[in-house]
C-alpha cells in the first residue's frame, strides 16, 4: 500500500488548490465519486489493519413559515466522510471531515490513527457478515428527479399559494416544506466489494419530501392541520393539503365542551398511524420471549425446564380484528424506505393473526438457526376496507371524528394502555351528521382494544411520517400506509382546554 506524504513542491501545490465540496451542478456524490474517495482514503492508511469509510452527501431545501410570514428559506448541502482506523494490537480511532481534497483526507486518516494509538483498547476485527442472499437487495425506486431538482423558488411559490388563501380569510398559518436528497455508502478496506459486514452499506441514493401546515384562528379558537410526506414531491398535492387545513380550522372554531367517556370514534388515517405507532414499537420477539409485552402468553402458559420458564408468544394466534393485515414491503416506494441488504417482505399480522415479531440476527442464529434478522414494524402497510369517512359519519348515531393525536405515552407495556391528546380538529357526530366542534380530549386506551373494536374500515393511504434521514431507523416516526377506521367504545378520560 503506497503512502503519500506531504512535503516538497507537490504538497505546496496541493495546498494551493481551492478546497471545494461539490460543484453546483453536483449537489450529491455519485457512486464513482464515493468509490474514488474510499480508495484514496484506503491508500492513505499506515500501519495495516482495517479502514472503514462512511461517505454521505446530502442536499436539503427547506422553507418554514409562521404567522403567514416565511421565517426560513434554505438550500444547504454537505458531505461527511467518517474514517475509522482499526490497527491490530493498537486500537481503533475515528475522524470525520467534510473536505475532499487529498490533504484533508490524509489529515483525517492520520487523526484517526493517532486516536487509535492513544485509545489503549486493542480492537478485535469484527467477524464478517455473510454476503446477502442473491436478490435480497430491493430495487425500489425512491428517487424522484422532481424532489431533487426543486429550488428555493419552487418552494416559495408553493408556500405563497398555501399562505395567501389563509391570510385572505384572516387566519394564521404555519408550515414546513422540505425536499431532501442524499447518498450513503459505508465500506471497509477488507471488504471493499463484499461480502459485507453488518456495518457495510453499498452505495445508495434517495429523496424525501414533506409538506405540512397548521392553520389557526387569530383568536386561538380553532386549529386545522394537514400534511403528507413522500419520496416524490409530485405525489404531494399541496393545494389540497392547504385547503384541508383551512377547512378544518374554520370548522373547529368555538368548540363545545363534551363530557369524557366512551365514544364511537372515526379516526382519520393520521390518527390511526399515531395509535399504531404504539403497536409498531412493541413488535419485539425477544421481549415477548422474556415474558413481557403484549405478545407473550400468560405465565400459566409458560413451559418450565430446569426451573427456567420458557415464555410462549402469541405467534400464530388471532390477536386483532380479522379484517386487519399489516405487512412490510421494502419495494413499495410509497413507504419511502431506502433499500438495505437483507430487507425482505414481512407480514406482521395476517387477518388478525400475529405472524411475525422483530428479532436481531444474533437471535436468529442462536434460536432459530437462521442467518438473517427480521425487521420490525418500521414502515408498514395496513389493510383496510371500502368505507369512506363520509359513510362512517353517516352511519354513526353518536361519536367523535378525530383528525389526529399528539403527546401519546404508553402507560402499561403489557396491555399497551396509552394516553394522549386529540388535536387540530375534533367533532361530535350525531345521527349521521357532524353537529359541532368539541374541545380536545385526553384518551386513555390501548390500540389493541381499538383493533378489536373496529366497525368500519376505509381505503389505506400514505400519511405524514417524514423520515428525517435515510438511515435514522430509530426515530419514533414509522412510515405507514393506513386506512381511516371507525371503532366503538374508545375511552376519553378528560377534557383539554388547549386548542
Amino acid at each position: 500500500m503506497s503512502v503519500r506524504t506531504l512535503n516538497g513542491r507537490a504538497a505546496k501545490a496541493r495546498r494551493a488548490e481551492p478546497k471545494r465540496l461539490l460543484a453546483d451542478e453536483e449537489r450529491i456524490l455519485t457512486k464513482a465519486q464515493c468509490d474514488a474517495i474510499a480508495q484514496r482514503i484506503f491508500a492513505f492508511a499506515r500501519g495495516g489493519g482495517e479502514t472503514q469509510v462512511q461517505i454521505g452527501s446530502w442536499t436539503r431545501g427547506e422553507l418554514r413559515w409562521a404567522r403567514n410570514r416565511v421565517s426560513l428559506a434554505s438550500d444547504r448541502r454537505d458531505v461527511r466522510v467518517e474514517i475509522h482506523r482499526i490497527v491490530p494490537n493498537v486500537g481503533g480511532g475515528k475522524a470525520i471531515t467534510n473536505q475532499l481534497d487529498d490533504e484533508s483526507l490524509e489529515a483525517a486518516v492520520r487523526a484517526a490513527e493517532r486516536l487509535a494509538a492513544v485509545s489503549h483498547q486493542p480492537v478485535r476485527p469484527r467477524p464478517g457478515f455473510p454476503a446477502p442472499p442473491e436478490g435480497s437487495w430491493p430495487k425500489s425506486a425512491i428517487w424522484s428527479d422532481e424532489t431533487y431538482s426543486s429550488t428555493p423558488e419552487t418552494r416559495g411559490d408553493v408556500a405563497r399559494k398555501l399562505i395567501d388563501p389563509t391570510e385572505a380569510k384572516g387566519f394564521y398559518s404555519a408550515g414546513y416544506i422540505e425536499m431532501h436528497a442524499g447518498t450513503s455508502m459505508r465500506v471497509s478496506s477488507v471488504r471493499a466489494a463484499g461480502p459485507y459486514s453488518v456495518d457495510d452499506v453499498p452505495y445508495v441514493r434517495w429523496t424525501q419530501a414533506q409538506c405540512s401546515m397548521t392553520v389557526r384562528d387569530q383568536k386561538g379558537a380553532g386549529s386545522g392541520w394537514a400534511g403528507l410526506s413522500s419520496y416524490d414531491w409530485k405525489s404531494i398535492d399541496t393545494a389540497a393539503l392547504g385547503a384541508r387545513a383551512l377547512q378544518k380550522c374554520e370548522a373547529s372554531r368555538n368548540p363545545a365542551t363534551l363530557e369524557p367517556g366512551r365514544y364511537t370514534v372515526i379516526l382519520e388515517p393520521q390518527a390511526v398511524a399515531e395509535l399504531m405507532q404504539i403497536v409498531a414499537a412493541s413488535i419485539d420477539r425477544e421481549i415477548a420471549e422474556s415474558g413481557m409485552g403484549p405478545w407473550t402468553l400468560a405465565p400459566d402458559d409458560a413451559v418450565r425446564i430446569g426451573g427456567n420458564p420458557i415464555w410462549r408468544t402469541k405467534l400464530g394466534l388471532k390477536v386483532i380484528d380479522d379484517r386487519i393485515t399489516i405487512d412490510h414491503d421494502p419495494s413499495d416506494p410509497r413507504l419511502g424506505i431506502v433499500p438495505q441488504p437483507w430487507m425482505e417482505q414481512v407480514t406482521f399480522f395476517e387477518k388478525g393473526v400475529l405472524k411475525s415479531l422483530e428479532y436481531a440476527r444474533r437471535y436468529a442464529l442462536a434460536s432459530l438457526g437462521k442467518n438473517a434478522a427480521r425487521r420490525g414494524m418500521w414502515a408498514y402497510r395496513m389493510s383496510g376496507g371500502t368505507t369512506t369517512v363520509d359513510e362512517m359519519i353517516s352511519t354513526t348515531q353518536r361519536g367523535l371524528l378525530v383528525t389526529r393525536f399528539s403527546d401519546i405515552r404508553t402507560l402499561d407495556g403489557n396491555s399497551l394502555l396509552s394516553s394522549g391528546l386529540t388535536r387540530d380538529g375534533l367533532w361530535l357526530v350525531e345521527h349521521g351528521k357532524i353537529t359541532k366542534a368539541v374541545k380536545n380530549l385526553r384518551f386513555t386506551e390501548s390500540p389493541l382494544f381499538v383493533l378489536n373494536s373496529i366497525e368500519q374500515l376505509g381505503e389505506p393511504v400514505p400519511v405524514f411520517r417524514p423520515v428525517r434521514s435515510a438511515y435514522e431507523q430509530a426515530i419514533p416516526l414509522t412510515p405507514a400506509i393506513v386506512p381511516p377506521l371507525k371503532a366503538r367504545d374508545f375511552s376519553f378520560t378528560s377534557t383539554i382546554d388547549a386548542i
Partner: protein, 493 residues
C-alpha cells in the same frame, strides 16, 4: 511598547506596506502608532477550570464525577486488578484527594442552612464527597422537617434516598445509614418491613467487610424471623424479601452469626457434621421442612460426563477425583463470546479473568486440588459462523488454558436441543447430563446462573460447599486438607 511596535511592524500586510512607502515615512509612523495603540497583544483566554465558579449543585457533582472517573482511569492504567483478590473493605477507603478537593472547592458556596431543598439528594451526595458529613446530616434533617404531610410516604422516600446516598458514598457511611434504618424499623411498620430493613443493613455491612455490624443486623433478623407467624411466612411479601426471599435471608443471617470458623470446626470433624449443623440451622430458624433445604451440600457428587476432554487422557479418569479435594465448575458459555471476542462487539477482560484467577490462586496453594470445568456447547456466538462441537470445545480450551490452573481438566458435552412447534420454532436447549446430575432435583439453574454452578467436594466425593466466597472456600479447603493429613498420620501410627 517599543517591542510591540516592532512586532506589529513585522506583521503589516504587504498591501499596507506598499501604500506606506508611497505616502512617506511620517504618515506611516502616524498610522502605525495609531494602529498599535488600538491593539493589544493576544493572550490566551483563561482556560483553567475553576470549579468554585460553578453555579449549581448539578454542575459541582458532575465535576467531581469527572475527576473521579479520571482518577479511576489513571488507576486502571497502573494497576491491573483482574487477578487480585477482591478487597471487600475497599468501599470503606477514602476517595482520592483530587476528587475530595474538587468537591470541597465547589461545594463551599452551598450552605446547608439555606440551600434549596429541591437539591437535597445531589447536594447531600456532594457534601459526602467533600467529607462534610455534619452538613449532609443537617441538610437531611432540614428536608425531613420540611415534610408537612401526614402521609408517611414522603418521609419514607426521603429516608430511603438518604440511606442509598450513605451506602453509595465512598467511603460507605454505614453509621448514619444504620441509624436511619434502625430508627425506621423501630418507628413502625410490620415485622416483614423490619426484616427487609435489617436485611439491607446486613448486606451493606457484609459487602463492606464490617462483620461486627453485619452480625448485629443478623441478630435482629433472626430475632424478628423467629417471631413470624405461619401466615407471615407464607405471605407473598415474605417470599419476595431481599434478593432471594425470606427463608434465605434468615438462613444467611444465621450463617453470619455462626460464622465460617464454626462451620470449619465442624468440618474438621467430618463433612456430614458440618452439613448436619447447617441443615439443623435451616430447620430451626426457617421452620421449613428438611427437604426444602436449598443447598446441595452433603450430596454425593456424580462423576462428570463429557464428549470431549482436555487433556485427552482425562477422558479415562473419574472427575471429581476420589481421594482429592475437588472443585467442579460449570462454565457459563454465554460469556465465552465476550471473553474471546468471538462474534461479539467488545471484550470484557476483567470479568472473564476474575473467576479463573481465584481458582489459580487456590490451585497454586493446594497441591493435588482437582479442578473440573464443565461446559455444555452453545452452538453459536453472535455474528461468528456457528462452530461445530469440536471447534467450540477447542475455543473453551483456548480460553481456560492460559490461566494455568494446576490440575484442571475440561469436559465438553454436546448440548441437545429441541424446537418449539411452528410458528414459534425457537430452539430450546436441553439440560446436559452434568447439569441434571448436579441439580440434585433442586429447582435452581446450574448453567448460566451464579447461584449454583461451583461446587467444593471433599475427598470422599461429598459436596461441602457451593462456592460463593473465596475466603470461606480457602478455609474449607484448608480444613479438608488438614483432615486428610491427620487421617493419614493416624493411619501411619
Amino acid at each position: 511598547m517599543p517591542t510591540l511596535h516592532r512586532e506589529h511592524f513585522g506583521h503589516v500586510p504587504h498591501r499596507f506596506a506598499c501604500r506606506a512607502s508611497r505616502w512617506g515615512g511620517a504618515a506611516l509612523a502616524l498610522v502605525l502608532a495609531t494602529s498599535a495603540a488600538a491593539q493589544t497583544r493576544f493572550t490566551w483566554p483563561d482556560t483553567i477550570v475553576d470549579v468554585a465558579k460553578y453555579a449549581t449543585v448539578d454542575q459541582c457533582l458532575a465535576a467531581t464525577q469527572r475527576v473521579q472517573e479520571g482518577q479511576a482511569a489513571l488507576h486502571s492504567m497502573v494497576v491491573w486488578r483482574d487477578t487480585m483478590p477482591v478487597d471487600v473493605q475497599e468501599t470503606l477507603k477514602p476517595l482520592a484527594a483530587p476528587v475530595t478537593k474538587t468537591a470541597v472547592s465547589c461545594a463551599a458556596q452551598f450552605d446547608e442552612r439555606t440551600a434549596k431543598l429541591s437539591d437535597f439528594a445531589p447536594l447531600m451526595t456532594l457534601y459526602l464527597v467533600a467529607n462534610r458529613d455534619a452538613d449532609a446530616k443537617a441538610l437531611l434533617e432540614r428536608r425531613l422537617a420540611d415534610i408537612t404531610s401526614r402521609s408517611t410516604h414522603e418521609r419514607v422516600a426521603v429516608e430511603d434516598s438518604a440511606v442509598l446516598i450513605y451506602l453509595h458514598a465512598q467511603p460507605k457511611r454505614l453509621d448514619p445509614a444504620e441509624q436511619l434504618l434502625v430508627a425506621r424499623a423501630r418507628s413502625g411498620g410490620d415485622r416483614l418491613d423490619r426484616l427487609a430493613l435489617y436485611g439491607r443493613l446486613m448486606d451493606a455491612a457484609r459487602d463492606a467487610g464490617d462483620t461486627t455490624r453485619a452480625r448485629r443486623a443478623a441478630l435482629w433478623i433472626v430475632a424478628v424471623g423467629d417471631s413470624l407467624t405461619q401466615a407471615e411466612r407464607e405471605s407473598d411479601k415474605y417470599t419476595k424479601l431481599g434478593p432471594l426471599g425470606g427463608d434465605l435471608m434468615i438462613f444467611g443471617a444465621v450463617q453470619q452469626i455462626v460464622g465460617v470458623k464454626t462451620l470449619v470446626d465442624s468440618l474438621r470433624r467430618g463433612t456430614m457434621a458440618m452439613v448436619n449443623l447447617e441443615r439443623t440451622m435451616w430447620l430451626h430458624y426457617t421452620k421449613q421442612r428438611p427437604e426444602s433445604f436449598p443447598l446441595p451440600i452433603g450430596e454425593h457428587a456424580p462423576p462428570v460426563a463429557g464428549d470431549i476432554w482436555y487433556p485427552r487422557e482425562a477422558a479415562g479418569e473419574r472427575h471429581p477425583a476420589p481421594g482429592h479435594v475437588s472443585v467442579v465448575e460449570f462454565v457459563d458459555g454465554s460469556a465465552l463470546g465476550t471473553c474471546l471476542g468471538i462474534g461479539s462487539w467488545g471484550v470484557i477482560t476483567d470479568a472473564c479473568a476474575y473467576p479463573f484467577s481465584s481458582l489459580r490462586r487456590l490451585s497454586d496453594r493446594v497441591p493435588g486440588l482437582d479442578v473440573t470445568f464443565v461446559v455444555g456447547t452453545r452452538g453459536n456466538f453472535l455474528h461468528a459462523k456457528p462452530p461445530s462441537p469440536a471447534e467450540e470445545a477447542e475455543l473453551y480450551r483456548n480460553w481456560i488454558e492460559p490461566f494455568r490452573i494446576k490440575g484442571a481438566v475440561l469436559s465438553v458435552t454436546t448440548r441437545d436441543f429441541w424446537n418449539l412447534p411452528a410458528p414459534d420454532g425457537r430452539r430450546i436447549d436441553k439440560l446436559t447430563p452434568n447439569s441434571i446430575g448436579y441439580s440434585f432435583g433442586k429447582s435452581w439453574a446450574i448453567e448460566g446462573n451464579s447461584f449454583g454452578g461451583k461446587y467444593l467436594i471433599d475427598q470422599d466425593g461429598i459436596i461441602v460447599d457451593v462456592i460463593f466466597n473465596e475466603q470461606a472456600t480457602n478455609e474449607f479447603v484448608d480444613a479438608l486438607v488438614q483432615r486428610q493429613k491427620a487421617g493419614g498420620d493416624r493411619a501411619a501410627k
